[in-house]
């Protein structure tokens, strides 16, 4: 366990302490104590920057289950450091924000901070793990803590619905991913991602390669809310706003992005990776931005916008995978896509985090998030307005904010995809820039909605629950910090170029970096009148026009069939699964023992009959059968008649008597086959059991004591005949195949010499195999006590009746 491990585990340890802090220090908001941790972690992780800037990495291993090759390996390189800084940095800001957002008295803060710290630790574990099993463990911990956070206000229906939905979808993806990890580790014979990446070329030719890739992508797509799994994210907006800001914009949803980036060195050589990641990302981007426009809830818009932006990053990662196919080119255009992805990842975390916090402020100060009720807040909440302008304009991709730069780089990459022919791009390649452009237009529109619908227009105080005013300063600190970063990164993008972006991009596409060299990352603010700049101008012009005439065409959304949505699909499939399994279970679990007996016997017939047939096990060999005597024939006839009488008897009394006849014939058989002990016992036992049957008969309730004939049911007859046939076949076959001599020679020889007895049966019962007898008498005892208990102990009639009465 090194310091790095303790850093990952620190949030969990802190989480364990939070309830005590909350209980002891009631005067101070618990958040202040929690705040220390992410700050310390952020600063301490900054110290790794010099290492990763040289494209070096640090690895620390602690044994967890060494016998299975599962270790807790922490691995810091450019990519993980970027994520760690995002998690701890934004974590600190979110904790600070939550101190002002959540009431000290009304909310159960200990739960909130325990879940939040759990999540933070899990997230650190995800991005710092080198072992896939450890990664998976932390991955599921993020799902669980996110579930707990979404349902933080668990007395609300919507919260529980959203939590359950996100849990089901992300855990589904997580399990798929576990499958992918296992396939991958079987292929590469190691659990270490680094070692797997080292043998990427061999893995590429492995027959299971595609399976592992698709399974892992399931995990990434569900977590990062890609199409069609994005549906949980809008419902996760029921969580407290700090949670939405932290989990559902900056960190957890980027776990999928991280996964794709982390596994790029392994999978990106494949054309499938390019197509799946690229198209799913791009389609998600367009689809979600399109849907964001029609939302009326501010957080709903932001949720869809998050989905859309994640799709954008995902598509860039897909496009970046093409870089690996051109490692000869000096000026690799595709690495630009990876760089853009990393850059946009940072930008998105900054502006989306601040936008969520702004939304939280609006909600907090006006009491609603519905944009139809909001308006004209510009003069009332000037700082909030400024912050949301910065965030939204950056999201829309306007200069001078950082979103502009990454959007330009995105468009550039998409344009280049159309130009170069790779993986048969020449036919479909044009779709990439077109879709990207359409997506950008919608992004522009909803960004404008966020700013101008809320802050512009007419102030409608009558629709608001509270009198709106500017938020307290403490609440504004975090969004101000994030918004300043938006501007800072926008004006001086190269601050990040070689400190964060270059190392991260280098970890995503390590194979194209010359030894000891660095990727050329230079983000220029102004790059001339290029295609992508023209496209941005187009986005702005078309976007403004569309926004102006929004009321004219917003009705277009009504033409989309409201029923055929993914949400309905999810709800319907849950409902169908529940109803379906209910009716399925109900259809065969009838509650009648006869049905279950039919299943058991039918199964018995099928399995045994099938086995006999497949194995050709039926044998008939009459060589060692004895000759049939006169008494046997007579007894068999008696036995058959008695048995038939039981079946066709009209009265139960006849059946009981016939059963007795069967029992006595059997004891006669024992006599004929020279088993005097058995015959004796059989006689006595048959007498006793017949007497007991008669007793039962006598006590039958008067009402249903009709003496009526058993109804004939063809199914039962078939089953009964089948069982009889199968048992007969097995009996004959078993008798016809004698594999080894019987053990009875031993008993015959030793009954007198070793056990001092002459009755072999009894000697076997009490001496050779007395152990069985011991437990048979135990069985008898239990039966007797059981009967005693059943009859004497009648609790339902008049409570505790005394058994000694």
């Amino acid at each position: 366990m090194s310091l790095l491990h303790w850093a990952i585990l620190a949030p969990f340890i802190m989480a364990a302490c939070v309830p005590f802090v909350r209980k002891k220090a009631t005067a101070i908001h618990t958040g202040w104590f929690v705040l220390i941790l992410p700050l310390v972690l952020f600063v301490s992780f900054l110290q790794y920057l010099p290492v990763t800037m040289k494209n070096d990495s640090i690895m620390q291993t602690a044994d967890w289950i060494p016998s299975l090759g599962i270790n807790f390996t922490a691995y810091v390189d450019g990519l993980s450091l970027l994520f760690v800084l995002l998690i701890t940095g934004i974590g600190a800001l979110v904790v600070l924000y939550s101190i002002y957002y959540l009431s000290k008295t009304k909310e159960s803060l200990q739960h909130f901070y325990v879940y939040l710290l759990m999540f933070m630790g899990a997230m650190l574990g995800v991005v710092l793990s080198d072992n896939v099993i450890t990664l998976y463990m932390f991955w599921e911990l993020t799902s669980i803590s996110s579930f707990l956070l979404i349902a933080y206000w668990f007395d609300r229906d919507r919260s529980r619905y959203g939590a359950l939905k996100s849990m089901l979808i992300t855990v589904f993806g997580g399990l798929m991913m576990l499958g992918g990890f296992l396939v991958l580790s079987i292929m590469g014979n190691t659990f270490s991602i680094r070692e797997l990446a080292a043998q990427a070329p061999e893995l590429n030719n492995h027959p299971l390669f595609l399976l592992a890739m698709i399974l892992i992508l399931f995990g990434a797509f569900t977590k990062s809310a890609q199409f069609p799994f994005y549906i949980w994210l809008p419902d996760a907006m029921e969580a407290p706003t700090p949670v939405s800001a932290y989990l559902h914009s900056a960190t957890m949803v980027k776990a999928g992005i991280y996964l794709v980036a982390r596994f790029s060195p392994i999978f990106a050589f494949s054309g499938y990776w390019f197509w799946i990641v690229g198209t799913v990302g791009l389609f998600t981007m367009v689809w979600a931005s399109f849907n964001a426009v029609k939302q009326t809830d501010l957080k709903g818009i932001l949720a869809f916008s998050t989905v859309s932006q994640l799709g954008l990053i995902m598509s860039l990662l897909g496009a970046g995978s093409a870089a690996l196919h051109f490692d000869s080119l000096d000026d690799n255009l595709y690495t630009a896509a990876v760089i853009a992805a990393v850059f946009h990842l940072i930008n998105h975390a900054t502006f989306k985090g601040s936008l969520f916090m702004v939304t939280g402020i609006i909600d907090h100060e006006t009491g609603t998030r519905d944009i139809r009720r909001l308006g004209g807040l510009m003069s009332l909440m000037p700082i909030t307005f400024t912050l949301s302008v910065i965030g939204a304009f950056s999201m829309a991709g306007l200069p001078p904010f950082n979103g502009f730069l990454s959007k330009e780089m995105f468009l550039l990459s998409m344009v280049q995809l159309a130009e170069l022919d790779l993986f048969n791009l020449e036919t479909w390649g044009l779709l990439f820039p077109v879709l990207a452009w359409i997506g950008s237009v919608f992004t522009f529109i909803y960004s404008m909605i966020i700013v101008f619908r809320v802050f512009g227009g007419k102030f409608q105080p009558e629709k608001l629950e509270k009198k709106p005013h500017e938020a307290p300063f403490g609440m504004l600190i975090s969004p101000i910090v994030l918004a300043s970063l938006v501007i800072l990164f926008g004006l001086f993008p190269n601050l990040l170029s070689y400190s964060l972006i270059q190392p991260a991009a280098a970890s995503i596409v390590p194979s194209i970096i010359p030894n000891g060299g660095q990727l050329d990352v230079h983000i220029s603010f102004w790059h001339g009148f290029t295609t992508e700049f023209m496209m941005t101008i187009g986005v702005v012009i078309i976007g403004i026009i569309l926004y102006k005439f929004l009321p004219k065409w917003i009705g277009m959304y009504d033409y989309f069939p409201g029923k055929v949505t993914l949400n309905n699909l999810y709800n319907a499939s849950l409902y169908t699964a529940e109803r379906g399994s209910h009716s399925l279970t109900k259809s065969y679990m009838t509650g009648f023992i006869r049905s279950y007996l039919v299943y058991i016997f039918a199964f018995f017939i099928t399995i045994l009959g099938f086995t006999i047939w497949v194995k050709g096990a039926f044998r008939f060999d009459s060589s060692n059968t004895a000759s049939i005597g006169f008494y046997e024939v007579g007894l068999v006839i008696v036995l058959l008649i008695a048995t038939a009488t039981i079946l066709i008897a009209k009265s139960r009394l006849t059946s009981i008597i016939s059963l007795g006849a069967v029992g006595y014939s059997v004891s006669l058989f024992f006599i004929i086959f020279r088993a005097p002990d058995l015959a004796l016992t059989q006689l006595v036992i048959e007498t006793v059991s017949t007497a007991l049957f008669l007793l039962c008969f006598y006590h039958l309730p008067k009402l249903s004591r009709h003496e009526e004939k058993r109804r004939f049911q063809i199914g039962n007859a078939v089953i009964a005949a089948g069982v009889g046939l199968i048992v007969a076949l097995i009996g004959i076959s078993a008798h016809s195949t004698k594999l080894f001599p019987s053990i009875n020679e031993y008993y015959i020889k030793n009954t007198y010499t070793k056990a001092g007895g002459e009755n072999m049966v009894n000697v076997i019962l009490v001496d050779f195999r007395g152990f069985d007898t011991l437990f048979e008498i135990a069985v008898l005892s239990v039966a007797a006590l059981g009967i005693y208990g059943l009859i004497k102990l009648r609790l339902e009639k008049g409570g505790e009746q005394n058994e000694n009465e």
Partner: protein, 140 residues
């Protein structure tokens, strides 16, 4: 009208002892001839049932001052104890021992620990049968 079953009762008293003796005979003969603890026990309880039929249950209960459930545990204790006794002599569980002894009245007799085990079986069977019959018979 009060039924008079004096013949049945008189015969039952006599037959009871015959059955008991036969049962005891079966029990002791078990190691050399057909019989043994199981059949012996069943017949013994059969004899008691006969008495129960001839007289009534409460009278019989007064005659047999034992709770048959105790008989079950006593029998189990005998059986398990015999089986476990071998452990004292450092031989495997359930090892029986036998030898021939010169006894004052019986002459040369073979004594066998399996007999003790069988005694356990005998007692359990009596206890079980009688418990079942008594319980069912007494219930309404």
């Amino acid at each position: 009208m009060k039924t008079n079953d004096v013949i049945f009762q008189t015969i039952a008293k006599v037959v009871f002892f015959m059955i008991i003796f036969f049962a005891v005979h079966l029990f002791f003969a078990g190691h050399y001839h057909p019989g043994g603890g199981f059949v012996g026990g069943l017949l013994t309880s059969g004899a008691i049932v006969l008495l129960m039929l001839a007289f009534d249950m409460k009278t019989i209960k007064k005659g047999f001052l034992i709770d048959f459930k105790w008989l079950i545990s006593l029998g189990l204790l005998f059986s398990a104890g015999t089986a476990a006794g071998s452990l004292i002599f450092n031989v495997p569980f359930f090892t029986h021992a036998y030898d021939y002894f010169q006894l004052p009245l019986f002459g040369k007799t073979s004594l066998h620990t399996a007999m003790l085990f069988d005694l356990g079986v005998y007692l359990v069977v009596i206890g079980v049968t009688m418990t079942i019959i008594q319980t069912i018979g007494e219930s309404e």
